[in-house]
Symmetry: C2
Subunit: 267 residues, 2 copies
């Protein structure tokens, strides 16, 4: 089944658009797991198990695993298998290279690691992204307007009154017509732009980081998009909800809180 | 020693600006190595050993290794150790993410894998790249104007008569002032733009892919830049110079041919 259909089924079943971001840092883990040689894996697995009923997708941020080199990749390989059938997986890898390289990156993420979706940087243009879109059942989320302060450096570069992020969104909306498997990353920290981008890109599934620790709110986000075709992602506010033994229960409570904020907007 | 000083020393010693791109594909390797369980590693090691005397840097394209998952990362870990002291290493990983993630990517490439330099995507702006620049001895090559056809999709987006690639180059030139450790990726397939970008970014070391299989020529490239502060990269034309047992010797001949084309331009 295509990613968008799967997401729709899960969203309605769980009344959730929640994406839990797995960005584990060893030094921030609760003391009870920190000394375990397999701490990162076990911590993430517990978070997944405790939050799955409230969660539509898990987003694995590759940076936090690659810092351990090949060992980090082994953790990713094991972790993606821990994601339950009724949750989607997102490889937050932000890849982007010319066609031949892109083909291998797509194989790595979708073939070798069997993720349901990936984040990709659009800077190198359509031919650098086509190999991802060829995986028709999988989804590719392009960076549109990101949640960080530096987003304004290049994404607001403006041609004929249209900023680059808007031009990117317009292009992705058009590339989406081929296989209906494109999404767009738009930061929750920029609610007015969410509304503007949704008008330009009505069919794209949004991936919206920046809720929770980065300051965005679920209600503002959904009201600005005007629909529920979006995965709203929180990381630190969930995975570090408690620094104690009860971290998994605390994460579940936090995930449930966000899921409840989303439920009224899901038809 | 800083990357730029190392490069200068190597360049003068070897009369070479050559960067050999390691983009190995199992099915394209010579029959004599293809069936070996460790074929990718052994093939690349032989290429390195046979070409090192003509080569200033090796660029490891992560896509071609990540396609094998964690095993591919293990090959990268072993391969980077095979690069001789008098050659620089470039992690062609094209990473790019917000500050906290960027910090981990930088640690992965510079700390864990001990590469001398990395390629980074500028789309997310300055705060997403600062953690790379903090590694003062290492170099960070930003994507400016790439060699692929899709480069025109977004990199030519124009504000007040200035295309995005030029605005990016201008910004990187300014970020370079802090630690003098920035470079710029500019495709050899766009010689006129090479000249234009060098005027905007006089201090940046260029990393120039697209010579050889992609059609760019060394002479045109260097004449357009007007100096030798550049690594000129060839991949397929060197590593696949022969499909037979003599692949390493053929690669050396091809590397030497390019090095001889470069020598007259190195003061």
């Amino acid at each position: 089944m295509k990613f968008k259909e799967q997401f729709n089924t899960i969203k309605i079943k769980k009344k959730s658009m929640l994406c839990v971001g797995l960005d584990p840092e060893l030094e921030k883990l609760p003391g009870c797991v920190q000394s375990d040689g397999d701490a990162i894996f076990k911590f993430c697995r517990e978070i997944i198990q405790s939050t799955a009923q409230f969660t539509a997708a898990y987003k694995i941020n590759f940076a936090f695993f690659e810092r351990f080199g090949a060992k980090g990749w082994q953790i990713i390989e094991r972790l993606v298998e821990e994601i339950p059938q009724d949750c989607l997986s997102i490889a937050d890898a932000k890849r982007g290279d010319i066609g031949n390289s892109a083909r291998h990156y797509a194989h790595a993420i979708f073939g070798e690691l069997n993720f349901d979706s990936v984040t990709v940087n659009p800077y190198m243009g359509k031919d650098s992204t086509a190999p991802f879109l060829d995986w028709q059942e999988k989804a590719t989320f392009f960076l549109g307007l990101t949640s960080n302060p530096g987003a304004t450096d290049f994404q607001y570069f403006t041609q004929d009154d249209q900023p680059l992020y808007s031009f990117v969104a317009e292009n992705i909306e058009s590339w989406n017509k081929i296989n209906n498997n494109c999404g767009l990353v738009v930061g929750a920290t920029r609610p007015e732009q969410l509304r503007e981008i949704r008008k330009i890109a009505p069919k794209l599934t949004f991936l919206i980081p920046g809720v929770g620790a980065q300051g965005g709110s679920v209600e503002t986000v959904v009201q600005n998009i005007g629909d529920s075709n979006a995965l709203i992602s929180a990381s630190r506010s969930i995975i570090y909800a408690s620094p104690e033994n009860d971290f998994a229960d605390a994460a579940a409570l936090e995930a449930e809180k966000l899921q409840r904020q989303m439920a009224p907007f899901i038809e």
